[in-house]
């Protein structure tokens, strides 16, 4: 059933500051990506995480980073960064450089870093969901106690393959947590126009899978709820279906510059009141954990850090033309030439 009861926070000041730094870093990183895109230094489809930071921060702090499996769609910068992927490599990939996580071959939508437990970075809506269950299948097959976080959007939650996967995950008891990042929109389509029942959390129930709806704009609560669920799944080895409510302040992708086609400025304004960063700032101030000056200092520090990341990435070369043929196969070249 839909959760709500907010428990009293017990996070240490240090942990809260880390949440703050993580969310703010993602925000600035993503804003920089938007700039880079507008400058024409990134292309194609690029989707940023602005507004959704608390969600990824909460979950990534609930798992065994680098050991547990994480997989998501194309809105993937935050997940990689929080798992410990070198930000320069992420920015370089976004800019199509040789130094990128995929040598410039994947781009923003296809960030991968298996060494840190991150399996992408996928572009076909819903297509990676069975892959994530497959990672969990491997855990069960091997008898290890890894947990898989399998992220998707609210629009993706309509794809048939998601239900096929839920049925098998329930049937075979796979340690897979399906997490809907419900930001209320699938590109230009509002939740109400794409889901028969907007309460997506119910969709796990017919498969005998524990299902819940959570708030993704409160990083403290998110981390708490995530931790509970991760530990339960690690113990039971059974799947979990989680709908997390959030919002994206940016356009769907960097190429989406007419948000008024599907929502009003007023609506966006209202949504800003839920801004997870502003919300945490309030908490930090209320509890006298941090004052404005400190916040501004951290902000300046992170802006500067992101700038350096960008400069380093921008200074790195594009892939060599011959590389186009590399890594299609692990052991052979394709036929070359037109």
């Amino acid at each position: 059933m839909a959760k709500s009861a907010v428990k009293k926070s017990t996070e240490s000041p240090a942990e809260l500051e880390q949440f703050y730094r993580d969310m703010l870093f993602i925000r600035h990183f993503e804003e920089k990506c938007n700039v880079v895109y507008r400058q024409g230094k990134a292309g194609g489809y690029m989707h940023v995480y602005i507004g959704m930071e608390a969600l990824a921060v909460g979950w990534m702090n609930a798992i065994r980073k680098g050991d547990d499996y994480v997989i998501t769609a194309y809105r993937d910068h935050a997940h990689a960064l929080l798992l410990g992927t070198d930000p320069v490599k992420v920015m370089a990939e976004v800019m199509g450089r040789k130094a990128g996580t995929a040598g410039g071959k994947g781009g923003s939508m296809h960030i991968y870093d298996p060494d840190n437990g991150f399996y992408g970075g996928w572009g076909i809506v819903g297509g990676h969901i069975p892959l994530g269950a497959g990672l969990a299948f491997a855990s069960k097959y091997r008898g290890d106690d890894k947990v898989t976080l399998n992220f998707m959007g609210d629009g993706a939650a309509n794809q048939g393959v998601v239900f096929e996967t839920l049925n098998m995950a329930g049937l075979w008891d796979l340690p897979c947590i399906f997490i809907i990042e419900n930001n209320e929109f699938a590109m230009g389509t509002r939740l109400e126009y794409h889901a028969a029942d907007p309460e997506l959390w119910k969709r796990g129930l017919p498969f005998d899978i524990k299902s819940v709806r959570l708030d993704g704009m409160d990083v403290v609560q998110m981390k708490k709820d995530a931790t509970e669920i991760v530990e339960e799944v690690r113990k039971t080895g059974k799947p979990y279906w989680v709908e997390v409510m959030t919002y994206r302040y940016s356009g769907h992708g960097a190429a989406d510059n007419d948000r008024q086609l599907y929502r009003t400025k007023e609506e966006e304004q209202k949504a800003w009141e839920r801004d997870p960063i502003g919300r945490l700032e309030k908490l930090l101030l209320d509890r006298n954990i941090m004052n404005r000056e400190k916040m501004e200092a951290i902000d300046a520090e992170l802006v500067d850090r992101v700038e350096k990341i960008y400069e380093e990435a921008d200074a790195s070369p594009f892939p060599d033309l011959e590389e186009v043929y590399d890594n299609i196969y692990s052991d052979m070249d394709p036929e070359k030439g037109h």
Partner: protein, 327 residues
């Protein structure tokens, strides 16, 4: 001869859709973000306000499901025009298209018709990477029961879409993202249409036949100009329709020029250009002074980096090089 109108390929498609929807109330459009959002490539811009959600249906992201629903509606006598945000996503609906739309007329021995048009941008746009840059027309053109067209000009975009919508069989109508903004002229005549199944000679020439479809026909026109400078007089054959394939027009050109290069954006190996080349080589054997050349996309999943991507997609220089190679 009627006056002509200047417009983009995109506007030509829109004009065709407006006119057909006004003519026949059984026609409706279905697809992702085609209504309120106006379509990712803006082809359906303006239709939602005019026709409303009954005839311009925004769907969830469930390609197999909504394609199947459109097929069922067509079996019941409606005339759906389905848009895929990119043709790459048709891969998720292939079972519906190939096992249901393409076969129902035959499996009912002619009792049930399936008048559906499936349209959208096919091929590479710009840095959309490996999963969003497919050219699937060759797969569709392999399937009996489907018709497959790939117009390269504004006039054909306008005229062939009309024929596709009026056709009682499933028609795959593939547009190339690189063509939407291209300007051209169409006859100022609402009764105008271009039949499916006829290739078109866009430029006459005597030395070599450059054979292609969709955007590659435009590339061939550029190549022809470059070749001109070297005193090579190329004929540009716009295939337009892959299934049915107008071999008559293609062969006539090759029998005249005795040389040919088939150009397509899809992966070179196993693309539909192979079928065209194989037919020319077999049926024009005694008329060929050189092997049938082929220019296709590199056999590589489309990379993101622009410099790598550009390498993968054939351009006029690749065509010129292929012509030279024939000697």
């Amino acid at each position: 001869m009627a006056a002509t109108l200047e417009m983009t390929y995109r506007e030509a498609l829109q004009k065709s859709l407006y006119e057909e929807m006004d003519l026949n109330a059984d026609i409706f459009m279905m697809g992702e973000d085609i209504g309120r959002y106006e379509g990712t490539f803006k082809v359906t811009k303006g239709f939602f306000p005019k026709y409303g959600h009954r005839r311009v249906v925004d769907t969830p992201i469930t390609e197999a499901g909504f394609t199947g629903m459109a097929i069922g509606a067509a079996m019941a006598g409606l005339r759906p025009v389905v848009e895929f945000m990119t043709m790459s996503f048709a891969i998720l609906a292939l079972d519906q298209i190939i096992n249901h739309a393409a076969k129902v007329h035959y499996m009912t021995n002619g009792v049930v018709k399936c008048p559906i048009v499936i349209r959208g941008p096919g091929g590479a746009a710009k840095q959309l990477s490996a999963q969003h840059s497919h050219s699937l027309e060759g797969w569709f053109a392999h399937v009996p029961g489907l018709k497959v067209v790939a117009p390269a000009t504004c006039e054909d975009a306008y005229g062939m879409l009309k024929s596709a919508i009026r056709d009682d069989n499933p028609v795959i109508f593939t547009e190339n993202p690189g063509l939407y903004a291209m300007k051209g002229s169409i006859p100022d005549d609402q009764s105008f249409s271009v039949p499916i199944g006829k290739a078109n000679i866009l430029k006459e020439g005597k030395d070599i036949s450059l054979i292609g479809y969709s955007r590659m026909t435009q590339v061939n026109l550029l190549a022809a100009e470059l070749l001109e400078k070297d005193g090579i007089d190329a004929e540009v054959v716009d295939v337009r329709s892959l299934l049915p394939l107008d071999t008559e027009t293609i062969y006539a050109s090759v029998r005249k020029t005795h040389r040919s290069v088939v150009v397509y954006e899809d992966w070179r190996s196993g693309g539909f250009g192979a079928e065209i080349a194989a037919r020319i080589a077999e049926d024009c054997f005694d008329h060929l002074d050189a092997p049938v050349g082929r220019v296709g996309g590199l056999n590589v999943p489309m990379p993101y980096a622009r410099n790598l991507e550009l390498q993968c997609i054939p351009d006029e220089n690749d065509v010129v090089a292929a012509v030279r190679k024939l000697g």
